[in-house]
Symmetry: C2
Subunit: 428 residues, 2 copies
């Protein structure tokens, strides 16, 4: 028996799906216990259909979603159009029509995931989305299956390929942020409006999804504080290196005694940390847990074939479960009440980069500000001066978010001081 | 309803199982859809039982396997005794008694896996062994589930923690092999007879298991050529560093056009390769495939809690499937005929470390040997001399196994030359 699927959209990732189904047919059929056949592909309009056919694509292209929803033979709908609408509407209707859905749509899942999962649950169909986090890295299913036995205490992820590519160029070639962005755009890694990538929004979306799988909590996008890489200067990168660190945009989720804390922020990672050697467009998710201890899952975060591999893995899983008559269980069943951490329980070391007047006693004034807030200092570096201004770099011992906020506010309020950057430092 | 399990053995790893079941109870029950209860624990004799009870362990300790096999309430037998016998006998009888089995016994699986899997299959029970390869890294289930959609072309694994710890010490602290071994023994990473670890036998066992999951082929232990780390000298480590490499004991399985080639051998890895930063007792499996491209799975290769985490993940999977009434499917269903590669299709660059007489024309003589076998050279380094003997290091371009054998034989047969070491070089 063959299981029939339909694709919504036929862009880059979507065309990787038939590639894998064909190229890896023998193994896929062994795993799925069925042939898998793409019987319909939704495209935007007749013009797109004609263009695709002219380019040699031999699929049954349709231009309305109803042709798929009304087709009783289609068991699985694979949404690869991206963006919120009409994807959300199409997925909702597919689930309501009793079709299983596979999607790679991270933005949609991060913002409307809970709603869609409820619709899937009500209709007893599957909604799988392995490709939505770190494209080619099989992290979600691994958390569900292999780490079911483990209790995760912290997740650290380098999960945005564009910003990681840029930071790698800034580190290895000494490029400025602007030069790195322009190269990323030229290579097609960054869009003309790079906001989602460079401001940490994309990574924050992924943290909301990861928090469900790793901690069983449906954290909202608004719960994930995000600071991007726009403000990172070549000087920050150089200082980090001098002190034995590399700078990465790291998404983190940790369980403190009062609840969960999730954020995305530039982070100094010790050079020996496994995440520190994740370079270019590669992604990795580093997991700290009471059982395994430390584990890391590394691979490409995007791209046609990696993403299609995760999509097809989801399809295989559903087909297998259709054949076993166990289909319709939630992708992730781990559920706990959402409880966010109190600011005083979220602790880390921090890097401060500060301009001060180049006159006597300034470092003392600085030190007093930190001291008043009970923040002890790990390292102070006076980075050179132009006669008028001195550049002081401070790495603190662990401080909590309340202390961090107080110190930041005081530094900003002190006349003559200019706080250039504050980044997280991993290590303590 | 609660599912009852029995443990065979109560050593270090085994005692990690109740720890996780208790510490992570809420999540485990959500994932398994049942409580999991350890109702019997097999120990060697009354003396061991009394010792364990005196130490505060409150389990129902039994001293004969029959007490478990005849107990109709026990659904899952968890073998954590290690070694071949009596583990093999106990597992066989448990499977024949209709019990599902979870084991971490890599030696047993590598040598008698096919036989045991057949018994499991005949009795329609599950035999799972995630912990048998790279302890805490969830690599086997990930290959089965998430990489079902992908076609793997090569696996590279740093899968022996003991030898990796030793090589890390040799690299980072300049230690000799002997000093590193003695430290590993003192820390309990290496046994008093370290043969299995340092001669690549343990890693070869893991390659035989990985070959089934990654390539669907049941490769025999004898098919995996293995060379260990005994002969690696501080000089080899230093030269590697000078040339931009690190030396690791790497297990590899690759599919060539004629079939599968598996081996374990010291390997020069470019410093930028993700495996190069896998240090100490940590393990990692690097996967090259047509879909994802490159991915890596990193974590502890051994240890109580990491291994127990994999064991409990297997238990959860079985309990879930018992509840779904789909239990008894093979852990790995990917099966192809075993076809081994022809030597001429297995290609790599190699490092040769050679002592030659310190006289004119020796490098020319050397070069001629390589040239006769059509082996082109990437780098030659004359490493210093004591007046009588010169030390020459050569890195070749890609050569096949036949060429490698011919060059090696000629170098060994040439009077005055002494071939110290030949290692694989990754990169080309």
């Amino acid at each position: 028996m063959s299981i029939k699927i339909a694709l919504l959209g036929f862009g880059t990732v979507a065309s990787g799906v038939p590639f894998l189904l064909k190229e890896n047919n023998e193994k896929i059929v062994q795993a799925a216990h069925s042939e898998i056949e793409i019987t319909k592909v939704l495209v935007k309009d007749i013009a797109e259909k004609e263009r695709l056919v002219a380019a040699g694509n031999h699929f049954n292209f349709v231009t309305t979603i109803d042709e798929i929803l009304n087709d009783k033979e289609v068991s699985i709908v694979v949404e690869l159009m991206g963006r919120i609408e009409p994807a959300k509407n199409f997925i909702t209707r597919a689930l309501e029509a009793g079709k299983h859905v596979v999607t790679a749509n991270k933005d949609l899942l991060a913002v409307h995931g809970a709603e869609l999962l409820e619709i899937a649950n009500k209709n007893k169909v599957a909604l799988y989305y392995e490709a939505a986090v770190a494209g080619g890295i099989p992290i979600l299913r691994t958390l569900v299956n292999s780490l079911a036995s483990d209790k995760i205490t912290r997740i650290l992820g380098v999960v945005n390929g564009t910003s990681n590519f840029m930071l790698t160029k800034m580190l290895e070639e000494g490029w400025s942020y602007e030069a790195a962005l322009s190269e990323a755009q030229q290579l097609g890694f960054a869009e003309s409006d790079p906001t989602n990538d460079v401001d940490g929004i994309d990574a924050a979306y992924k943290m909301t999804i990861l928090s469900q799988f790793a901690f069983g909590m449906t954290v909202k996008f608004e719960d994930v504080a995000h600071q991007g890489i726009r403000k990172i200067t070549p000087e920050d990168v150089t200082v980090a290196q001098q002190l034995g660190y590399v700078v990465k945009l790291v998404g983190s989720i940790e369980e403190t005694k009062s609840g969960l804390a999730a954020e995305v922020t530039p982070t100094f990672l010790p050079k020996s940390h496994p995440l520190a050697s994740v370079n270019g467009v590669m992604n990795a998710v580093f997991v700290e847990s009471i059982g395994i201890g430390e584990s890391m899952y590394y691979g490409p975060g995007a791209g046609q074939k990696p993403t299609a591999t995760s999509v097809v893995a989801d399809i295989i899983r559903i087909v297998r479960r259709i054949n076993e008559r166990t289909v319709g269980k939630a992708f992730n069943e781990f559920q706990r009440e959402r409880v966010l951490a109190k600011p005083e329980d979220v602790k880390s070391s921090y890097y401060f980069s500060i301009l001060t007047p180049d006159s006597k006693g300034q470092v003392l004034r600085l030190a007093e500000i930190f001291n008043t807030e009970d923040v002890s200092l790990q390292q102070i570096l006076q980075q050179g001066t132009d006669g008028n201004t001195a550049h002081v770099v401070i790495i603190t011992h662990a401080v909590n978010k309340t202390q961090l906020e107080n110190v930041t506010r005081k530094l900003q309020a002190t006349s003559g001081f200019k706080l250039l950057n504050t980044f997280k430092v991993l290590g303590e």
